[in-house]
Structure formats: C-alpha cells, structure tokens
Amino acid sequence: MGIENILFIVAFGAAVFLFSKNLRKIIRNINLGRDVDLSDNKAERWKKMLLVAIGQSKMVVKPVSGLMHIVVYAGFVIINIEVLEIIIDGIFGTHRIFAEPLGGFYDFLIGSFEILAFLVLIAISVFFVRRNFMTIKRFGMKEMLGWPKTDANIILIVEVLLMGAFLNMNAADQILQVRSVEHYVVAGSYPISQFLVPVLEGLSTGTLVLLERSTWWFHILGILAFLNYLPYSKHFHIMLAFPSVFYSKLKPRGEFDNMDSVKKEVEMMFDPDADPYAVPAEPEGPIERFGAKDVTDLNWKQIMDAYSCTECGRCSEQCPASQTGKLLSPRKIMMDTRDRVEEVGKGIDKNGVEHKDGKSLLGDFISEEELWACTTCNACVDACPIELNPLSIIMDMRRSLVMEESKVPSELAGMLTNIENNGAPWQFSQTDRANWINEK
C-alpha cells in the first residue's frame, strides 16, 4: 500500500464522515416537525415511487427538460457503478479491478458509461444555456436571484467538470494501454474518449500517466466534494425525491385533512352526555398550536418536502396567483420553509434544543399577503414532478393566522360570521334556502 492509497482512504473516510454528520443533522431537522403516520398503503406507495420517482413519469410533462433530466438522472445512477470501481482501486492500489472478472461485459459497461457521460454533457450544456442565456420565466422569478441561481450553476459546472475528467481519464488510459505501460491493463471500450486520443497522443508517457492520475483524482475527489455540497444545495433532491414521493399524499388532491385537535373539541361540544361544568383534562405533553406558525408546527413530511425541493419552479409557473403578479409563489414557500428550518437547526446546534430566536416562518419569512393569495386550486401540487405539497404548508399557516391570531381579511371575517349565523357565506336567512323552487 503506497502513500497514494493512504491519502485516498483518508480523503474518502473524511468525506463519508462529514456527509453522514450533515445528513444526520438534516434528519434531525426533519424530525423537528410534528409526527404524522404515513405508514399506510405500503404497496400503493411503492408503486407510486416506482412510477413517479424512479420512472420520472411527471418530468416528461415538459418533454424537452423532462427527457434531458432523464438522461442526467440515468447517467448519474449508472455512472456511479464506475465510482465503486474507483473506490476499490483507490483503497487497494489496483487499476480497473473489474476488468478481469467482468471480461467482455466490462467493455460494454465502460462503453455505456462513456456514451451516457457524453449525453449528460450535452444535456447539462443545454440546461446551462436555458438558465443563463434564455428568458425562461420560472428561472427568473425573484426568489431565484442570488444564491439559488449560483447554486444551480455550481451544480451544472461541477457536473461538466466531473464528466470531462472521466472522459479525459479514459483517453489517457487507452493510450497508456496501447503503449503497454505497466499497471494499465488492456480493457474497456471507448466510443467517446477515442476522439480525444489524437489530441493527447503527442504527449510523453510520463505526462500521460500524470494526466491519467490527476483526472482520476479530480474525478473522485470531485464526487466526494459534490456529495458534501448536497446538504447545502437544492441538489439534495437526488436523495430525498424518493422518500418524498413514497410518503406523498395518496388521497384525492381536493381533500384537506380534518384537524384532530379541533375534532376532539367539536365532538365534545356535540356530545349530549358531556358534562358542561367538567374541568378540562390536563393536556398531555406540550399544548398543540392550531395550524403552523413556525416550522416546528409543520409535520415532518412538510419539512422533508422543503429539503426535497430542487427549485424547478414548475409549481409557480402553474400557480394562478404567481401568474397574475401576486406575491405568492409556491416555490418560495418551499424555499422559505427550508431556510427557516436550517436556521432553527443551526440555533439548536449552538444553544441546545430549547433554542428560541423570537422569529417564525409565518411573519419573518412568509407574509400574510402571500398566504391569502392562494386559491387552493392544487395546480402547484399537480405540477410538482415529485409530488411536493406547498398547498398543505399554506393551509396550515392560514389556520394559524385565523385560529391562533384571529388575523382574517375583513371580507372573509364577514363571510365566516355569515356561515356561523345563518349557515351560508352570504347574509341570507336559512329559511329562504328553498325559495328558488318558486322563482322564475
């Protein structure tokens, strides 16, 4: 084992350690949310995940970006087989360890990786142009200015560099194979990188070995760095898209949950046997707030949704409020939720679980004006390629506004009073309900 292997093991170990530390933090943050039981209908959930997450069925609603996304997704998943080989080679100082046992199949694998890498490069380039040089409304909305745009470009550039390194490494490798340089076993097929060979052929063997080694190192260190970039990036969707779809809502989109906390009280009011003078039972555990004022009032799935959002903006593109210039953008709801839970998480890291900063998601991140602009039409939920639900967060915050803070737009207050007094949102008497029968 040489110094190179020791360096590799240290780098690899550090990357895995750091990533798992940040991953645990995200899981902790997700669990800051209320508990909700989503363990039902396992079979249906697996099916949906297979179709929507693994099968990308909702991506292709937009054929251009959808199909290119599938290329990048397939490239990412499949080329990762190569990473396994790189890790084994890195630890044991071997070279192309899978070549001998796999034989002809290895050639096929490397050939497919190269073709995929090439397709990924094309797709990524198109993505880059779309984001930076074309006017696509959903990429230019105001919540995308600054860091979100930089984040998107970092992801695209890193992917170009990784694929570029992979192809350059293969090009150098095949020249070294032809020159029968020790260590470089003759293996693999190189449908794409063969075109780089003429460019590199003039280089000396020593330079080529250096090039092969440095691109190898760049490729794997790049991947390890990228892995550790994920927890800070919208790109984390590559992990959470799957559980998010699995735990997504199976009921009709129009159905909103009936709040259990309210149900208990309403049932008591309707119970003819209830003792009106009874002292209310001491609530067990902390008193539950109605609706969501802060991220900790949301349930864990809603927080997981926020971490899964890759800010594609298909939701806001379809939202009737966003389209007509209202302040509301469902994507911003998801981004704000993530920013706030990150803030709360950092506070807890610093000051412990009792951390309070006097801020909240509702008010400091999301305004009442945004919340009241929603028509609850479900266009955002329908548009999301991974079934995230900004609407459920909006609804829970409306509930907090109305039931905790009595902050209702005055016209709505009138509507609610009417329902309470005469069983209709307008001021008509219930006794006039059937007048239409005899009107012409």
């Binding site: 009709p252 129009g254 210039g325 028509t375 479900n378 509507m415």
Partner: protein, 263 residues
C-alpha cells in the same frame, strides 16, 4: 314547457314514510346566488323530466363549511360538518348529488372522517350515469355549428380527477368541443377557490379570471361551459370585462341540456 318544478324536501318525504333515491345538495350558491339559482332550476328540470325520485334538505341545509375550511377556520368547518352530518344521518341519506364541486369535494372527501359516509356525485357524473343507463337522452340539435369549450373546475378536475363526465355530456350536443389551451389537469383556476370568492384579490398585475378569460377568447368558442357556480360568476365577469357578452355565453352543463332538450 312547464316552469313548475316538482321538488320534495326530505322532511316531506319522511312524513309520508318515503325515501328518495338521491338527495340533491343545492349548496349556498345554488340556493341564494341569482345566476346559480338558474343552474339549480335547470338541474331539477332534468331530474323531473327523467323522473328521478330525489329530495332536497330545503331549510335544513346549511353551508358544508368548505369556504370556512379553506379560509383556515377549521373549527367553523367542523361545526358545520357535524351539524350537517347529524341531519343527513337522521334521514339515513346514502346518496348525494350536487351542482357545486366545492360541496361535492367536501361531502365526498372530508365528511367521512367526521362520521358522514355517503356516495357523492357531481351533477356531471350523475347526468352521465343517467345517460349511460338510457334514462336521459340529450338532444343536441340546437347547438349545430356552435363551438363549446369546457372550463374545468379545480375541485372536480385536479381535486378529484374527474375530467371525462362533463365532456361526455358535451359530446352529445351537436357542437364542436374546442379545448382551452390549458385544460384538464393543467386547467387554470377561475380565481374563486380557497375562499377567494368572498374577498378582493391581493395586489397583482391582473385578475385570475381575466387571465383565464384570455384562454377562452383565444379558443373563441360561442359558449363556455362550466360545472361550478363560482366559476360561473368569475367567467361571467370575465366575459363582461372583455366585452364579449354578445358573442360568448357562459352556461352550466345542466343549462345546456335543458336548452337542447327544450325543457
């Protein structure tokens, strides 16, 4: 053409010891909104012509609580729901039809968890079923040469996945069905849902119903068909805003059938 409607209330029928096949849930808009009342009457005309044995709750009906729930007042919603469920269960109601997708969604999806389990249909589904059973024959001759577009209500379409029933009815009319550029699961909201009907919109560059009306103007039908009393209000306002009252009419599905069949 008879203008006298034959409508029983659950109370009447129960007093006679009878039970209807189905309860017609009229809804607040259908009971009180002048334009929506015409939809209610049109639907009843069809029920009468087919001879469906139905009843309404009449003065015992109360708001489902949908606008309260969507406005964030879960208490008021559940109070309304529990009250209605007591009434419905006392009458042993099993089957409900309604001309309002908001009532439809709430009764069908949100009442079961509070003790109200019913088979609930939107009137487009109910009429489609009557048609399939051969009980309702839709005469579409009057619509020859006309173009009709359907505006999907959110709570029927995206909310409950029903896109076909309204179209199955429209197909029976001798008119050309022209889809709006945004239709079915991609249909744009009229702007009234989520209790927006009862308040001014937040500041923006445009009203949602105007944005939607522009889809309609682009498709340039003679008639835009709706399946929701709130969409009716928003689309009618949109037509006025675009000054298209002469060339573009807004009708509910039931009204088109009444017109076609000369009821």
């Amino acid at each position: 053409m008879s203008d006298t409607l034959n409508v029983n209330t659950m109370a009447d029928l129960t007093a006679k010891g009878e039970k209807p096949e189905v309860l017609f849930w009229v809804g607040c808009a259908g009971s009180f909104d002048d334009r929506a009342k015409k939809i209610t009457r049109a639907f009843v005309k069809i029920l009468n012509s087919v001879g469906v044995n139905f009843a309404i709750l009449g003065t015992e009906e109360s708001c489902t609580g949908d606008p309260a729930k969507r406005a964030g007042n879960e208490f008021l919603f559940q109070m309304q729901a529990m009250t209605n469920i007591q009434v419905l269960n006392n009458y042993e109601v099993k089957k409900i039809v309604t001309t309002c997708p908001h009532c439809f969604n709430t009764l069908k999806n949100e009442y079961p968890g509070l003790g109200g389990d019913y088979e609930v249909m939107h009137h487009s589904q109910f009429l489609q079923k009557l048609m399939e059973e051969g009980k309702l024959k839709i005469e579409g001759g009057k619509f020859k040469g006309k173009k009709i577009s359907f505006h999907d209500p959110c709570y029927l379409g995206r909310g409950n996945g029903e896109y076909e029933a309204p179209r199955a009815l429209l197909q029976e009319l001798d008119a050309e069905l022209v889809e709006l550029k945004r239709c079915k699961s991609k249909g744009l909201c009229c702007g009234a849902g989520g209790a927006q009907m009862f308040k001014e919109a937040e500041p923006g560059t445009k009203e949602v119903n105007i944005e939607r009306m522009e889809d309609v103007v682009e498709a340039s039908p003679n008639i835009v068909a709706v399946g929701c009393p709130f969409c009716m209000t928003m689309m009618t306002d949109g037509v006025k805003n675009k000054e298209k009252e002469e060339t573009l009419k807004v009708y509910d599905l039931a009204e088109l059938i009444v017109e076609g069949n000369g009821l």
